[in-house]
Amino acid sequence: MKKTGAEIMWECVVREGVEVVFGYPGGANMPIYDAMLSYPIHHVLVRHEQGGAHMADGYARASGKVGMAMGTSGPGATNLVTGIATAMMDSVPVVFVTGQVAAHLIGGDAFQEVDVTGITLPITKHNYLVTRADQIAEVVREAFYIARSGRPGPVLIDICKNAQVEQCEFVYPETVKLPGYQPVAHAQKDMLDHAVKLIEKAQRPIILCGHGVLASKAEEILMNFAVKTQTPVASTLLGLGAFPASHDLSLGMMGMHGEVHTNLAIQNSDLILAFGMRFDDRVTGTLKTYAPRAKKIHIEIDPSEVHKNVAVDVPLVGDLKTVLTDLVPLVDEYDHDEWLKEIRDWKAEADARSIMNWPNDDKLYVPHLIADIWKATGGNAIMTTDVGQHQMWTAQYYALDKPNRWLTSGGAGTMGFGLPSAIGAWFAHKDQEIWAIAGDGGFQMTAAELTTAVQENANVKVAIMNNSFLGMVRQWQEFFFEKRYSAVNMLSPDFVKLAEAHGVPARRVTKREEIDEAIAWARSIKGPTVIEFRVEQEDAVYPMVPAGAALDQMLQRPLKESGN
């Protein structure tokens, strides 16, 4: 049966289970958009391709499926770049399809021609330039397979306009042939034995749980391992939710803005079990003094992450869930009561400084606000964020018990991620409550997507933490540049009017006693809402490990002068 290249693309995309695509049409992808009308695809017209990329990313993170975004050639494709890099850094499976000028025009600087495969080469797991219709079936099949398998990541397909229009025989490829791509599942047996020996000897072990736990869907086996060996679990920013925050063995977040007792536990441990995490500089502090007495076992699917930042004693390369399933029967039951008590004592000491114990001083602090949203939503909402102070506070105070509800740009640190990723997540879970926690800076980067939310009636609750500053940069300037504020004072539009102009009901909150009612109001509305919170302008995120300092050299929140 002969079909056009565009039809073949949709035939394959539909077979991959895609139901929703976020995109923007243009000259070079019009045949794809025309063919789309005949297929069961819901297309979301975004307002900027970056928003579309983040929506597909948010959809993928929330659903565990592959997301899909599209753009036309030239600027359409370059606008996707930030979103592609965001997905790459956080290993999120998204397939991007861009239109390209006709094959015979390539290299001639044709209208809206940009070397998209060249630009995206270092920020995709793999990419393709398709010049003929008969390549499309195989390429789409491979792209989805590569995006979701192994260490997931974004794959881009750049399809020349002629290839979209030309006809050829459509045969769906039942298998993929990729001799150079064979993700590993099981770790080596002798390495497992070495790991078991280290676990047996450990008195002060700690698990570092990363995004890989979620990517591998290994939450349950992680719980088995942690409980069986009585090993406490610290989490990276992206690993939050993989291990329930309310569990006795949970230590919460580690790293630059991690909990004091968690970082102390890492530094004082004698065995680190790194599960699907990559020892990013934001979680290690300076490597010279990182966990100096700890042996290290690293379970990781990507061999290039092993020994990259931290040399480990036992690398277990494989799929985390598979490796842990192999490992759990080999280890004995242990108890580490003394070690756990030591950590609890550190926690008690640090908690005395917690802002949660502050008496009401009429100011609006983001930590209080996040805790209030947590209470109102029962800790069950899907939370998305931009990047900066509000992101760290949300990570600290929205304690998650369930996986895939925490959508934040970790590796790339992309501002403007919050609103579009929330819209994407809504398409994955229309029955769930979704909150986008945004900063005043980040929100303005992708605020145009409010209209997209209205057009789709996406039920997302936006909470803007407006401190009239680029807060995190301001905090660094306060701490490390002697309070010389440079380019951080930010004038914002009237967010309430802005939202209302988009057709979104909005409110402003300036006092603590107004919080609960505003949250209840937002939750009572079906459809997008915006609440602007005028928060304390110069609060800082604590604890903080200054860049380049040792992990246990944390700046802690000063004790409140008037309070206790």
Binding site: P179, Q182, V310, D313, P315
Partner: protein, 188 residues
């Protein structure tokens, strides 16, 4: 120290660019890179010589990163393996009829060949290891080298032994051969 890797890659457009781009992105310095076909039409073979200031630590990094490229099928490190290594150079030397015999006898000593003779110049073709070619260049330099081109190093292990594979496609994950206990000291 210079390490030599052999990579088998799919013979597809853009693969050389992917490899070169990877080395640039990960901040590795390529000394030499030679690509050519193999006995299988769908597979190309690269010999890459890379500076590895941190020794095996860098070598592991390079191998593991090469495997992240979907088109890379196999990577071996042949640095410490008995192997045959060749580089080919064409050297055009400024030489008139009166000194041609001198260049000719020099070429004979190096088992090089004169492959072109013009009124005022000859082209010398030499094949061999890097050292041998460097030696000949040094001796020809006083005569006057007009231009020179080299292919870059190609390598093949002797006998049936392969090079070292720290990382393996699909089968084994990652290790330094029996050295895992020393790893903690190897970080840069």
């Amino acid at each position: 120290m210079l390490y030599t890797f052999i990579a088998l890659v799919e013979n597809k457009p853009g693969v050389l660019n992917r490899v070169a781009s990877l080395f640039r992105r990960r901040n590795f310095n390529i000394e030499s890179l030679a690509v050519g076909r193999t006995e299988k039409p769908d597979i190309s073979r690269m010999t890459v010589v890379v500076d590895c200031p941190n020794g095996d630590y860098d070598a592991h990094k390079i191998e593991a990163n090469l495997y992240k490229l979907v088109n890379v099928i196999d990577v071996q490190d042949v640095t410490h393996q008995p192997s045959v290594t060749r580089d080919l150079a064409l050297i055009k030397v400024m030489v008139g009829p009166e000194k041609r015999a001198e260049v000719n006898s020099l070429a004979e000593i190096f088992r090089a060949r004169i492959v072109d003779v013009a009124a005022d110049s000859v082209i010398v073709e030499i094949t061999g290891t890097e050292d041998k070619i460097e030696g000949m260049i040094e001796l020809l330099r006083p005569t006057g080298i007009i231009e020179m081109v080299r292919t870059g190093q190609v390598s093949m292990t002797r006998g049936v032994n392969d090079g070292v594979r720290r990382v393996q496609q699909g089968a084994v994950g990652n290790r330094y051969e029996n050295e895992y206990e020393d790893m903690a000291e190897m970080a840069p």
